[in-house]
């Protein structure tokens, strides 16, 4: 960890820090820790809206072992989209729906998950500019390790960020991580790491999210990420 940078870790489990020291990804460690819970990737639908479809988010998904199980769909505010998604969630087929979408789509999708009885392991609000990003995460036990993974990779790539993760259960204080901007080289790394983390969540994948090169027009704005299991 670069000691020259402001870097805060609060409420992070000792195991998480040990994971950093060993140089392995927190995500891999989390999936290993979950042991018996890890299982082959389910058929997964990745929902994206607007320019997320051209972003590193999908690069992250593609780099995962789960990639061959993933299909991609754009969201919109049409009834056809929402009713189609509802039908899919009510189909009885075991599946995952992950995504990085705009706020309007997210309001509809997350509540659809609730009303159809699906489980939501991860719910993130993200704001990204060219050289910094903010992440407010709400996660379940099943997503253990994903938030530290995101924070550590953002720290490594040098963009400014702040991240807080709340867990619905347990007595732990919220995880808080942050760092000032060091460079713009990894301005879309957050999206790649997020895509990778969501794709492999709950599987035995112990790999690393891909490192992505910066682009002239990185993904900026407000987004919501999620992992839903039906």
């Amino acid at each position: 960890m670069n000691v020259e940078r402001r870097f805060l870790l609060k409420g992070m489990a000792l195991g998480g820090l040990a994971g950093v020291a060993m140089g392995s990804s927190s995500l891999a460690m989390a999936n290993t820790m979950l042991g018996g819970q890890a299982r082959p990737a389910l058929p997964t639908l990745a929902l994206v809206s607007g320019n997320v479809a051209e972003s590193a988010f999908l690069q992250g998904i593609k780099a995962s072992n789960a990639a061959k199980q993933v299909s991609v769909q754009r969201t919109d505010l049409s009834l056809d989209f929402i009713l189609g998604l509802e039908k899919r969630l009510r189909s009885g087929q075991p599946q995952r729906i992950i995504g990085l979408v705009d706020d309007a789509s997210a309001a509809l999708i997350i509540d659809l998950a609730r009303s159809t009885g699906a489980r939501v392991q991860w719910l993130g609000q993200h704001n990204a500019t060219a050289n910094a990003s903010q992440h407010r995460l709400l996660s379940a036990e099943a997503a253990s390790g994903c938030a530290p993974q995101l924070g550590l990779q953002l720290n490594a790539c040098g963009t400014g960020f702040s991240l807080s993760e709340q867990r619905l259960h347990g007595n732990k204080a919220p995880l808080q991580m942050g760092a000032a901007s060091r460079n713009r080289a990894g301005s879309e790394q957050w999206a790649a790491t997020l895509g990778y983390a969501l794709a492999v969540m709950g599987t035995a994948d112990s790999g690393q999210a891909p490192l992505v090169a910066s682009r002239p027009s990185p993904l900026t704005g407000n987004f919501v990420s999620f992992s839903i299991e039906a």
């Binding site: 929402i82 706020d103 509809l108 509540d111 009885g117 704001n127 903010q134 379940a140 036990e141 259960h169």
Partner: protein
């Protein structure tokens, strides 16, 4: 996978042992699948849009019932263990609290599975539905059965439901837009487990439950709305006959300062029922957001959007500073006569540009507005959440007389306070018969803790300043319920708490709803 349950989050005043006993009883009553305690089952109940921490509105559990008997059973268990239970119907009260409980730790009673359309009478134009019925479901039913009836709903139309919207006194955009006015007959499970039917519903063999509101003696329907005296398990309401001719139109006004004249122009037409529907007067940013415009398209500067940018958006998107949406309904002859009156009045006003459906074609936002005014569900208005982004939305909804001077004053006051806090005025007026619902979406970025804090302060100041001017909101999100209850004075609160003590002495039904909570000193 280990089945981890929540061991730290408990309802107020309930210990872990009592809570676990209650959960076991819920499971026995409802079945394992209808008792949700795992974190990934509860997270979707915690996606709030209010400017407070998610933890303040996190549930300890959620249970789903499918019958009235099960609701009675839930109430019995809650009484035995003093469990506070927060009831939702479809749970789509976005911007007012969504599906989250009003207070941390409350158990949610989610009635989404009670979703039967019990009866629709095409001759009398009535319906009787359960809490989980959505407007889309009802719309499909009318279409499939080719029934010549029209729905009225709020903007989240397709996914919201008539029972929940009416119980929260929501409004729509048709001539039946004042939804509680069109309600007729409720079935309510009381805290003691009794099933109470309002109006004619208690009469054995009665057939008039959905056609005559008042019954005999005190009429109590209203006291169950925006309240916590019972759990509504059935609701009747009236449906408008589908008119042979529907003529939606828009009138665009160029300047923000036109609002007073617009209201003076509309009021007589509305009171006389020349324009029979709940007319909307939408501001430029409301309009822009619902035709896929984002703030980031114009500026990345923090703070309120400048008037210069607002004018630019107005020009680019071919919008008015104010955009009036109304419709005429009836036979061709009726519509023709009323159209002549409307256009004549507008000519007299000397400003405003009329746009007809033929001129607008499929363009937004005209299209979705016309759909809302004719009872066709859509989700276009969710575009509001993308204006600023970040997932923050709180409706500030003061009412006023339908007078130009009042609306002008409210709009200026709201904009000044919002802008002071670095936020935008994104508002519309919904014209009732004699009142205005001034609906403002306080949009902010929840990923930004500083902005979230600012939005909370802004909302509090809006309430304070408006109260000092003699205004109050008709509805509010769950984070500000107690504050708004104060605006309506102590006597009202004493009466409400006396009723609560009488009907729900264990304080189990949605404590805190509209500020009614036996933990309060009333």
């Amino acid at each position: 996978m280990t089945e981890q349950t929540n061991t730290t989050l408990l309802p107020r005043g309930v210990d872990a042992a009592n809570f676990q006993q209650a959960i076991a009883k819920f499971r026995a009553l409802l079945g394992e699948d209808n008792v949700l305690v795992k974190d990934d089952q509860l997270i979707p109940y915690t996606k709030i849009m209010m400017a407070v921490d998610n933890a303040e509105h996190a549930p300890s559990a959620a249970v789903t019932a499918t019958t009235v008997e099960q609701v009675q059973g839930v109430v019995k268990i809650c009484n035995e263990h003093k469990i506070p239970v927060w009831t939702i119907s479809t749970g789509r009260n976005f911007g007012y609290g969504s599906a989250a409980p009003g207070q941390r730790g409350q158990v949610i009673l989610d009635l989404k599975k009670m979703n039967k359309i019990l009866h629709v009478d095409p001759e009398l134009g009535t319906a009787l539905v359960e809490p989980g019925v959505t407007y889309q479901q009802l719309y499909d039913y009318l279409q499939e059965n080719n029934l010549p009836l029209m729905l009225s709903f709020s903007a989240p139309s397709a996914i919201a439901g008539p029972l929940g919207n009416t119980m929260d006194r929501g409004v729509g955009y048709t001539p039946y837009g004042e939804h509680f006015l069109m309600q007729c007959g409720m079935e309510v499970v009381l805290a003691n487990g009794d099933v109470y039917r309002t109006g004619m519903g208690g009469v054995k063999g009665d057939k008039a439950w959905q056609v005559f509101k008042w019954g005999y003696g005190p009429t109590l329907d209203g006291m169950f709305t925006q309240a916590n005296y019972g759990i509504c398990t059935k609701m009747g309401f009236w449906l408008m006959p589908k008119p042979p001719v529907f003529k939606p139109f828009e009138i665009k006004f160029e300047n923000e300062s036109d609002i007073a004249e617009i209201v003076e122009f509309i009021r007589p037409l509305r009171i006389a029922q020349v324009i029979p529907n709940s007319v909307v007067i939408a501001g430029v940013l409301w309009e822009a957001s619902t035709c896929n415009t984002r703030r980031a398209d114009y500026t990345t500067e923090p703070g309120a959007t400048s008037d210069a940018i607002l004018k630019q958006i107005q020009k680019d998107k071919n919008l008015g500073a104010w955009n009036v949406y109304a419709a005429l309904y009836g036979t061709q002859e009726q519509v023709d006569v009323n159209w002549k009156i409307v256009t004549g009045a507008l000519k007299q006003l000397g400003k405003g540009r009329i746009v007809t459906q033929e001129e607008a074609g499929d363009t937004q936002p005209f299209k979705y507005r016309a759909q809302l005014m004719s009872g066709v569900p859509n989700l276009q208005e969710f575009g509001l959440y993308n204006w600023r982004g970040g997932g923050g939305s709180m409706w500030f909804a003061p009412v006023s007389q339908a007078r130009g001077s009042e609306c002008n004053k409210q709009q200026a006051l709201a904009k000044k306070i919002l802008n002071k806090h670095g936020l935008d005025y994104v508002g519309e007026f919904i014209v009732g018969w004699r009142d205005m619902h001034h609906v403002i979406d306080v949009l902010y970025d929840r990923t930004n803790p500083e902005e979230t804090k600012r939005a909370n302060a802004c909302f509090a100041e809006l309430l304070d300043v408006f109260e000092s001017e003699g205004y109050a909101v008709y509805r509010v999100n769950t984070a500000f319920q107690e504050r708004v209850a104060q605006s309506y004075g102590p006597v009202k609160r004493k009466v409400e708490h006396a009723l609560k003590r009488a009907l729900d002495p264990n304080n189990i039904l949605s404590p805190g709803k509209s500020g009614i909570d036996l933990a309060n000193p009333f």
